[in-house]
């Protein structure tokens, strides 16, 4: 829960209000993906993310 509060504070401080809908959708979709698969391993060739 504290991570969500920190994220909210971060987005308010950065004034990135347009990211709100995306973030909410992402948490929902992401949560679903996390719940439906075993592990989350970064597959990238370059660790851009």
């Amino acid at each position: 829960m504290s991570i969500l509060i920190e994220l909210v504070h971060f987005l308010v401080a950065r004034k990135k209000y347009w990211l709100w809908p995306m973030l909410i959708a992402l948490i929902l979709i992401g949560g679903l993906i996390v719940l439906t698969q075993g592990s989350a391993i970064a597959p990238f060739i370059y660790t851009v993310f």
Partner: protein, 616 residues
């Protein structure tokens, strides 16, 4: 007393660094302890080492500083997907679970990990987060000998910035300008590394080493199609040719079509002239961009000093061109310019900028800067070395330091490959005479022998010279020290050999077999060399060894290559050194005052090192 721990982790090249009252006490990369090259893991052992070196516990720390800001990176990630949508769904689908499950919780993970060390953190210890490029800039400016300098940082990408300029003055760093993702010089170089069949984030050195075998015939095409370079050095990459922002590879089919060949198959497909020409071209473009950036900064600002950091600052060929260009009077480059160095920079940001502690003069310190020669890692007492070697089954002679140096110098003069393990381990990717394999640079066969029989790596790869600091200009076209092997300079003209017409007509790898100077093993095919000047103040034992080699041979230069085989992290402990010694064709090994001869060892202890480590 104020103790600050800097941490770099979770992407690549995890490391830890410890400051006590602003003094760099210790710094080390986690890969050296875990034996996994470029490991992204939490640097547990590196932190334990740093604390032990200072005689501290976790609870004694005032601040722990992480090297970048995860939320800013997450913001960039979301904005990238939004701006490229619907492209990038495949990457989105893979990245989001990683973030939701793991990377957004880095602060929690860090606190959990930190509390597992030796009783954990004290309630008053702060956990801070520095910005990625600020960490790079701090690692370049604060240890530098300059009171005031411009600081240029260039890498793949941090949170958002890929290129940044700061003004360093007193104890403060002021951001001046930056170029943001996806426009990145580091990622451009990595894209070519990937296309040429080498490992990204590791094989970039190979591109730099391969470049002199080729002709830069694709420069115009790159600048026409891929890179929009402005006169001030700022640039944009045409993302239609790249895939790193939205996909799971660095380049795409359009990129391959542009150059007319598919990506080279890693390890299996031979290197052709085309690949060498591509390497030469991206190297030339990189140099052009770096020079344009530097020249513009020199025009715009009065400061005559320049500091460099970030992965691109490990491109010592470009660094040499910046030095010779003369836009700045003096340059200083952080030896751990990759992300490992951010651990140090993050701690320095906390000390100087957060705590507003003054910066003491660095120029009068041993080696002329605050890095202590970059010998910041573990060292081992003689008794401990003997115990460890005995336990590993090694046979050795204990010699007085002078006798040991003399014996090693004699062996080197006889053409033997000598392992040299002395004092503290280096911080950063270069071996600087603490954990090195040495050879005679006068030998025409040594380059091939070391590559194929000792290092088990590609035959085209060049070796670097260590030269006595006071003799640098006798051997190389360089009038100042290069203590960290980060400057490439030409071998002096008087030392070069005349090429026959047949020699001059050679192409590609065939150039390798031609002797180009009286120190052929360290003279690259374009007469260049990646020079390390050895300073008596920071490494007296290595300086003494080269001096003795000079007494015997008249040559004040040695081949210096890192003490490892291909894919292996540089050795950390006497046991690592012994195992590597037994797994390769190294002839003798000096560890502290212990001297080991291959013929005296138990052959049963030899292990197959050719395939022990994953290829890099």
């Amino acid at each position: 007393m104020a103790a600050i721990l800097g941490i770099s982790a979770f992407y690549h090249d995890s490391a830890a660094a410890l400051l006590v009252d602003g003094e760099i006490i210790a710094a080390a990369q986690e890969e050296r302890f875990t034996r996994q090259k470029h490991t992204p893991d939490y640097p547990r052992q590196a932190i334990d080492y740093c604390l032990a070196e200072a005689g501290l516990k976790m609870a004694d720390l005032d601040q722990v500083v992480f090297y970048d800001k995860p939320f800013l990176k997450f913001e960039r990630l979301l904005e990238t997907y939004a701006s490229f949508a619907p492209r990038g769904f495949a990457s989105f689908r893979k990245a989001v679970p990683v973030w939701i499950k793991d990377k957004l919780f880095q602060k929690t993970h860090l606190l959990e990990e930190l509390n597992q060390h030796d009783g954990g953190m004290d309630g008053k210890t702060e956990l801070l987060f520095s910005e990625h490029h600020l960490s790079h800039a701090a690692s370049a400016f604060y240890p530098s000998p300059f009171d005031e300098a411009l600081v240029l940082t260039l890498d793949g990408v941090g949170e958002r910035a890929t290129t940044a300029v700061f003004l360093g003055k007193g104890n403060q760093l002021t951001p001046l300008r930056e170029i943001n993702f996806p426009h990145s010089l580091g990622l451009l170089y990595s894209a070519f590394t990937y296309y040429l069949g080498f490992k990204v984030n590791s094989g970039e050195y190979k591109i730099m080493g391969l470049a002199p075998y080729g002709e830069p015939r694709f420069v115009d095409l790159i600048l026409d199609k891929l890179v929009d370079l402005k006169p001030d050095g700022s640039f944009r990459l045409d993302q239609r040719y790249f895939n790193y922002a939205t996909g799971l590879t660095m380049t795409n089919r359009r990129f391959a079509d542009l150059f007319g060949q598919p990506r080279r198959e890693p390890e299996t497909e031979d290197l052709a002239q085309f690949h060498m020409d591509m390497a030469a071209s991206v190297q030339a473009v990189t140099e052009r961009i770096v020079l344009a950036l530097v020249q513009d900064l020199a025009r715009e600002f009065d400061t005559r000093n320049l500091c460099l950091a970030g992965g691109v600052a490990l491109n010592c060929v470009a660094n040499g061109k910046v030095l010779r260009d003369g836009a700045f009077d003096r340059i200083w480059i952080q030896p751990a310019s990759g992300d490992a160095g951010c651990a140090l920079g993050a701690a320095q940001v906390a000390w100087h900028m957060e705590q507003d502690q003054p910066r003491l003069p660095q120029a009068d310190r041993p080696g002329g800067d605050g890095m202590k020669g970059s010998y910041l890692g573990p060292e081992f007492e003689q008794a401990d070395i003997e115990t460890r070697l005995r336990a590993a089954g090694a046979e050795f002679h204990v010699l007085a330091p002078a006798a040991l140096s003399d014996r090693a110098a004699t062996d080197l003069a006889e053409g033997k490959a000598v392992g040299w393990f002395q004092g503290r381990m280096e911080f950063g990717p270069r071996a600087l005479g603490g954990r090195s394999i040495l050879g005679d640079p006068r030998s025409p066969t040594m380059q091939k022998t070391l590559n194929l029989k000792v290092k088990y790596r590609e035959s085209f790869r060049p070796f670097a010279p260590s030269v006595l600091k006071e003799r640098v200009s006798e051997y190389f076209d360089l009038n100042e020290p290069s203590p960290y092997m980060l400057i490439v300079a030409d071998v002096q003209k008087a030392r070069r050999k005349q090429m026959s017409e047949a020699d001059q007509a050679l192409f590609g790898i065939d150039k390798l077999n031609v002797q180009r100077s009286d120190i052929p093993a360290i003279t690259h095919v374009d007469y260049s060399a990646r020079v390390q000047s050895v300073d008596h103040e920071t490494n007296p034992r290595y300086h003494d060894l080269i001096s003795r080699f000079e007494e015997k041979t008249g040559c004040a230069v040695l081949i210096n290559t890192s003490f490892n085989v291909r894919g292996e992290p540089i050795v950390c402990t006497p046991e690592d050194a012994f195992h590597c010694f037994m797994g390769t064709d190294m002839d003798t090994l000096a560890v502290g005052n212990c001297y080991l001869v291959k013929g005296e060892q138990d052959p049963a202890l030899a292990e197959d090192y050719t395939s022990k480590y994953a290829l890099d």
